[in-house]
Subunit: 337 residues, 2 copies
């Protein structure tokens, strides 16, 4: 394992692939591997890409990966599909993606499908990103499919989050994106050559003005109105207003503008010290998750199985309510500790 | 609070509404309230309704609620929208629903929007269902919007889960439903008067045959093939194969067939003792969640804030890796305990 870590740090792709498999499956020794890699992390620019199915996220990531390659940056791609129960889907996805970027040693693509729980997936994604970061990839894309909390959770890993929309997906799909808008640093209307692109861009701007604190503030200033807005943690730096960029990914249309918007956001992160603040938040969340898991592991190792079984039986008979059950089990833990 | 509980158990709607607000906001004393209600729970039939936006879940729940009312059963509806950050959405949703069922004392509708975390929402949903159960509602619908893990988590609360599909939502939307199919007890093609309903029904059946253990087994028998299938916990009762029912909810088309399918599933639950097994699983999950929360609350109350702050600083400087950080904090917990 030590050798695998050293080879990965030196840019060995086969070692990297093997290490990722070990980490993804959370095999024995993963903690020590990740600990050995940890001092080498924190250098990559992590870019989240999220949005509904049908918006063309994968083509967009492909186009962006090529644009970064032209600027001689190395690119990692982690494609996360929390909804697919078929691991085959992930493998097929890899092959389809590979077509375009195949043979380029500066690109590394990894697809991840569901393994048990969403929590498990989020953890595995975090670890995979960390390995790619330590392996020296300059830009790491994290692409998530679907809509909802899973995106928000996984987007927390990213420093810059792109939310992708496309014309003609229907109003209801738009409405559901409200929650995702809040995490957007850059908004993309992809497939912008389709009819309705203007409407989509307008709807996104309207939603931004409604829902995004910085956009609300900008709007309020523009109208000369007094509107209560959240104040930024660092008052001296202007708030970031997510730009709306139109792209046609397969034709590279709008990709230069998108690259400019991304670089501007990276610059903003540096100047506002938001990058440091965001990393602290990420670390807090990770620490919390890990502590929760460690405490439960201790509890399950300490309290005998038959105590749990008996408590569950009593709850099912309505002799014990769940709150009292927790107190019963914690009392047993304290006796044994 | 004691009075509120008594009034709720006696069918007082205003007391019920106030109690639900208390429980939803997890106010002080909620645990004792829920403990007092707990012996009165376990009688309702909880039906989950899930599916993509645009499938007409709300109209379907409305039509089913009316059908159950015609059979003189009382109906509770819990509409959960984990993606909406605007609580206004939930309130508006209530009003729109109310139009149809307004004034009927045998129906109680509650909409819930995001509050902080998905975990928090799942917990609040569970508690709200429990209150409605104790208040004597015979059938409780839990309607969830979106796609993905949130549905799976919330569906675990239900005894019978309806997955709703509609024609013309595109192939990608179909593909994303694969994960949800696994939790379906009854599949509905709603808006079945639209073109493409046949294709949708066919696609669902094909996915069922691919992904659902019971359907796979049925298929294998039909073809006389030997196929590895999961065996049921109770071998003597036939596995449940989810039927596919077509509906046009606003016209009550197909609602009788759907009611028959639902009753058949309820009968299956009784005969197979699956209801008891499912309840045990639900209780296990709840107990696990509650223990996790209780253990973290203890840890946060025991280990001083400055220890956390220092550990986070050291991780951010890459002096400490997250795994070692957990060990450091647990060591502090042990010192103090």
């Amino acid at each position: 394992m030590e050798q695998l870590v050293q080879a990965t740090l030196q840019g060995d792709r086969r070692a990297l692939a093997r290490l990722l498999t070990t980490v993804e499956n959370a095999r024995e020794g993963t903690d020590h591997t990740l600990a050995a890699l940890f001092p080498h992390t924190g250098r990559a620019w992590i870019i989240g890409v999220t949005g509904s199915p049908g918006t063309g996220k994968s083509s967009l990531v492909n186009a962006l990966a090529k644009a970064f390659r032209r600027r001689e940056q190395t690119v990692g791609v982690v494609a996360v599909d929390p909804t697919s129960p078929f691991s085959g889907g992930a493998i097929m996805g890899d092959r389809i993606r590979m077509r375009d970027l195949a043979g380029d040693k500066g690109v590394f693509i990894r697809s991840m499908a569901t393994r048990g729980s969403l929590g498990g997936l989020a953890r595995a994604t975090r670890d995979v990103i960390r390995v790619l970061d330590a392996a020296g990839f300059g830009v790491i894309f994290v692409e998530t499919v679907g809509a909802g909390q899973s995106e928000v959770d996984i987007a927390r890993t990213a420093q810059t989050t792109i939310v992708v929309e496309a014309p003609g997906l229907g109003d209801e799909v738009q409405a559901i994106k409200a929650g995702i808008l809040e995490i957007a640093d850059v908004l993309v209307v992809n497939k912008a050559d389709r009819p309705g692109a203007d409407n989509t861009a307008r709807a996104l701007r309207a939603m931004l003005e409604m829902g995004h604190p910085a956009a609300r503030e900008q709007l309020a200033r523009h109208h000369g109105q007094l509107v209560a807005v959240e104040s930024s943690a660092n008052g001296s730096v202007p708030l970031w207003v997510p730009p709306v960029v139109r792209t046609v990914a397969p034709d590279d249309q709008g990709i230069d503008e998108l690259m400019t918007a991304l670089e501007a956001h990276r610059q903003h992160l540096r100047e506002s010290e938001a990058a440091v603040r965001l990393e602290r938040q990420r670390i807090e969340i990770e620490l919390y998750d890990r502590l929760e898991a460690a405490l439960m592991a201790r509890l399950l190792a300490t309290v005998p199985d038959d105590v749990f079984a008996e408590v569950i039986r009593r709850i099912q008979r309505r002799e014990l309510d769940p709150h009292a059950a927790v107190e019963t089990i914690l009392a047993r833990l304290d006796q044994r500790a």
